[in-house]
């Protein structure tokens, strides 16, 4: 690997990512605003997986994208490795983009239908000028192998793949830059139960091997319990409960958590 996470670390004890009083708003057409994320504060340590659960439309996705600086933040701040991300400019921002990645819910939409798998996975490398030609191809193949994909798929178009394969391509694209932090936005909700288990296992093994930090967004408590060290429960843009996974899921304090829990079938 070309970049060792340890090199970039300023302080091994400090949290990798911290959000303080984060607010995200959308302006409505015809005036007025709609608050998607309303004053959220939390931290994610190195190597930790934080689960973010909540029902649809509670602001999970907005929060995840705000953390990565993909949508404008209305208030509060996010610091990544001690640096506030909204102040990042050009070259520093590009470095941050390399270290934090996003895995999508709907891989069918997140993969460009007109690019082949190889090009999709190699694109981040090309953007960052990290590898070209043969080196890039080798790295792409390695990454594909890492996510459990047949290297022969490299010349396929996304629409020629199954749902699970697509999801793995999506993960491969996120991993190819060897990031320290991943926002997994409901990465398994669009695939069948069987594939889901396999994918979750893959994500977990990838995290352990490289000591990555995850923000694992899901509305599926079973998946959360399988993946997460800590869990945050979100409702209407606020975090209503935050704690160790076992504690929150076995002994929910907030009514919303209880409600979520009762709706989930157990494995």
């Amino acid at each position: 690997m070309t970049t060792a996470p340890a090199k970039m670390t300023n302080n091994a004890d400090a949290p990798l990512l911290a959000a303080r009083d984060l607010r995200v708003t959308y302006s409505r057409r015809g005036g007025g605003t709609c608050v998607a994320v309303d004053g959220v504060t939390f931290e994610i340590a190195r190597g930790e997986t934080l689960g973010l659960v909540g029902e649809s439309g509670c602001g999970k996705t907005s929060l995840g994208r705000a953390l990565l600086g993909l949508i404008p933040v209305a208030g509060g701040n996010v610091t990544f490795d001690g640096q506030p991300i909204e102040q990042l400019r050009s070259t520093v921002l590009r470095k941050f983009r390399r270290r934090a990645q996003l895995i999508f819910q709907d891989a069918a939409a997140s993969l460009n239908p007109r690019m082949r798998v190889g090009a999709i996975v190699a694109d981040p490398l090309r953007v960052h000028g990290m590898a070209r030609g043969k080196a890039a191809r080798e790295r792409v193949e390695a990454t594909l192998a890492q996510v459990g994909l047949d290297v022969a798929l490299i010349n396929r178009y996304p629409h020629e793949l199954s749902g699970g394969e697509r999801q793995r391509v999506d993960i491969a694209r996120a991993l190819v830059l060897d990031p320290e932090f991943l926002v997994c936005d409901e990465p398994v909700s669009a695939v069948d139960a069987c594939t889901r288990v396999a994918l979750l296992d893959l994500l977990r093994s990838l995290q352990r091997a490289h000591q990555r930090s995850y923000l694992f967004i899901t509305h599926d408590l079973a998946a959360a319990s399988r993946m997460c060290d800590r869990v945050a429960v979100m409702q209407a843009g606020r975090i209503v409960e935050l704690g160790a996974t076992d504690r929150v899921l076995s002994n929910p304090q907030h009514p919303c958590t209880r409600q979520l829990r009762s709706a989930v079938p157990t494995f």
Binding site: L102, F104, A109, S110, L111, N112, P113, R114, M115, V127
Partner: protein, 337 residues
């Protein structure tokens, strides 16, 4: 001016047989190889003990890039100066199908179709069949170059408007709207008055009026893709706007734009012929279907045989482009879904 604005787009998404491409390929072959079909010099001939390829060389000069390197064959070195009679009669020669140059005056003026002149001759005694074949070169050249130019312009404007949206989009959309409302006829007069008449001017004129079709389409595609997850993904790993626009969004917009451009070639052929009809097109003596149509119109009572060749030629080439467009649409759409 824009009869082509009413194009026919059969249902989307059906796979089409590649046979639909056949007419347009034939048309392109005729356009490229017109001198092999009709010319006053042989394709191959032996002269003074050597082999020469006069008509072939002329045809080669129609080919972009290669044409620039080809020089006329030696015994025929004066461009078009040497008539058939200069070739010694006994020598071996492979002649084109029609042994007349499209600009050549024969002894029979306004003769109806005959064995010597399959489609007759016009008022100056030029072979109509030869002119019809050579007219395809002008039409196709204008059609293709106009659409390349219109495509470049339309894609650039549409991409900028669609990618940035907001203020940019507002202004550029107004520009597109304004172009549509603009009096095309005057644009034509102005361009011709400045640039002078010729293929180049006609290409510019057509491109300037037709680019909006592509621009609107590309803009809509870009707007649609702007919020797509794969664009967000590219942003998330740090791709620059230019990178995203060129590498991720453009290919998606290019496919439908190409379909529009293929249909646009038919429109351009139509407009070129229309301009020639109004006597604003490619100047004489170049054989152009619109010009033939105009002179047929003027002589329709004394020489009705002149009417049909240009009419059929325009119809067939437009039809060929439409069929190719239908095929392309069928090829491209399943991919997009």
């Amino acid at each position: 001016m824009n009869a082509g604005d009413v194009d026919m787009l059969p249902p989307r998404g059906r796979k089409r047989s590649a046979l639909l491409l056949l007419p347009v390929l034939l048309l392109a072959l005729v356009a490229l190889g017109a001198p092999l079909l009709a010319w006053d010099q042989p394709i191959v001939c032996r002269h003074d003990g050597r082999l020469y390829f006069p008509a072939l060389v002329v045809a080669g000069q129609n080919v972009p890039v290669i044409g620039g390197f080809l020089r006329r064959d030696v015994p025929f070195r004066y461009p078009d100066f040497v008539a058939r009679s200069d070739l010694d009669a006994t020598a071996f020669a492979l002649w084109p199908l029609i042994r007349f140059n499209p600009d050549e005056y024969t002894d029979e003026a306004l003769s109806p179709p005959s064995r010597a002149h399959w489609l007759g001759t016009d008022d100056r005694g030029r072979d109509v069949a030869a002119r019809m074949l050579h007219g395809s070169t002008v039409s196709l050249r204008v059609g293709i170059f106009a659409m390349l130019l219109a495509g470049a312009l339309g894609i650039a404007v549409g991409a900028v408007a669609g990618y940035f949206g907001g203020w940019n989009d507002g202004v550029l959309s107004r520009v597109i709207e304004a172009t549509i409302c603009f009096p095309a006829l005057f644009l034509i007069l102005a361009v011709l008055a400045w640039v002078g008449r010729g293929v180049g001017a006609v290409v510019v004129v057509i491109a300037l009026t037709q680019w909006t079709l592509v621009a609107r389409l590309v803009r809509a595609e870009f707007l649609r893709m702007r919020g797509a997850d794969f664009v967000t993904a590219a942003r998330s790993y740090g791709a620059s706007p230019l990178w995203i626009a060129l590498r991720h969004m453009l290919p998606g917009a290019l496919a439908p734009a190409t379909v529009t451009l293929v249909f646009g070639v038919a429109d351009a052929i139509l407009i070129e012929a229309g301009l020639s009809w109004l006597d604003f097109g490619v100047p004489a003596p170049a054989a152009s279907w619109g010009g033939m149509l105009r002179s047929a119109y003027e002589q329709m009572r004394s020489a009705p045989h002149l009417v049909w060749p240009p009419c059929v030629a325009i119809f067939v080439s437009v039809l060929a482009c439409h069929l190719a467009g239908v095929w392309l649409r069928g090829r491209i759409d399943p991919l997009a879904k």
